[in-house]
Subunit: 134 residues, 4 copies
Amino acid sequence: MQKHILPIRIYYEDTDVGGTVYHANYLKFFERARTESLRTLGFELGELLKNEDTGFVVSSIEVDFLQAAELDQLLYVVTEIIEVRHASIRYTQCLHRDTAEGTLLCRAKVRIACVDGQKRPRRIPKLLLVEIKK
Amino acid sequence: MQKHILPIRIYYEDTDVGGTVYHANYLKFFERARTESLRTLGFELGELLKNEDTGFVVSSIEVDFLQAAELDQLLYVVTEIIEVRHASIRYTQCLHRDTAEGTLLCRAKVRIACVDGQKRPRRIPKLLLVEIKK
Amino acid sequence: MQKHILPIRIYYEDTDVGGTVYHANYLKFFERARTESLRTLGFELGELLKNEDTGFVVSSIEVDFLQAAELDQLLYVVTEIIEVRHASIRYTQCLHRDTAEGTLLCRAKVRIACVDGQKRPRRIPKLLLVEIKK
Amino acid sequence: MQKHILPIRIYYEDTDVGGTVYHANYLKFFERARTESLRTLGFELGELLKNEDTGFVVSSIEVDFLQAAELDQLLYVVTEIIEVRHASIRYTQCLHRDTAEGTLLCRAKVRIACVDGQKRPRRIPKLLLVEIKK
């Protein structure tokens, strides 16, 4: 279970009249990073749903907003899995500025639950579980 | 085919670092207004899809952004159907400030196409067509 | 410090390919509700910034996503202040379906910090503090 | 004035309950591409505003939505400047699937106007004009 790093560029769409990134948009960055960390393991969300009747929903999130990001900045989401259970995964995700070790802007704990196409809880498919735990 | 009027309040989520409403968000306001004008006629998009296998997709849009909207402002979307065909509808939608006759901020021509659940073109269901043409 | 209730209608813009509301968008609903609860007390965010050099930033948030909201649903955000300090406010916000006592979909604890126009921490202006504590 | 190409990955945040990308979000992709084409020339929007009192606002847009994009797809925005005037720029922007010559999904004509920090029209700064016209 290695750390995954995703660069994110800040565009106008991400900002608000306060001059910095709108707080809810950090959740989008974290979700892009979780998606890319799965893609790195060889899994795409669309295919998982079609072929394995498997999806993921966010069941809880805790976010500390420490410092605001600004237009044009290049950020790095550092994603780490901290627990894998039969039907859920817990992540820690940190957003850094300029480099993956740069100033910490935002830190999140995210729990996602595995569901089927009807959004009923289900076990994480084995082939995925094996790759995540490597 | 009467004019439909929908009030819209501007929140932080709608704005960008330029200090005004982010341009793509006006399209959301126009779509809320089209949705509400259908609801006024007794139709909900979710039910149309479930019960009539009918949805709508935006096929083209032309927007003139005349003056920017700002945080806390109360806007009014004035929606008018200008043409109804077998499988498409054309709208003119205008965004005004403070009242439905206030300063014109933004004007759009929108064409939506009727599709089935697989996004294939289809005729607008008769019961809907009748209400729209009233 | 009374409960504040805000109705929210779900539109296409709020949903995702999973068929329900995109998780980050609940944060927008909660923020609209905090904004409206201030407006009820006679304060607008834009005016507070211009006249009092006062803004608010979300400093932390905890959200439990219990059940997903769907297109066309009418939801109610119930907002309650649970602590007011010199430079921050803590809220509990709950999202219910159909009525303000309907099925609980989502529950959040939100802490916002008072800042000046340069995003430096500052005390909440007295005239605002008095109204909030009423 | 060369064509600029920007890859865009589709995430959950971009989609809606219809199963494809929400129509207003294509405008975000086009704007990211215009921003990156400026960055390629050595200009950042945030710096232009601070150092040159120069910004850009979208003054009109025409979009044809030909085919919908889906989750996980890799798209390419092809951006071309078709006219540069003293205080405005006109673009053609096309969104293709899989490669920059792949299936055309969406085509836009966008006109942006140059403004100062107070959103008043102004001439495009010479140093920028020179680079754009190269």
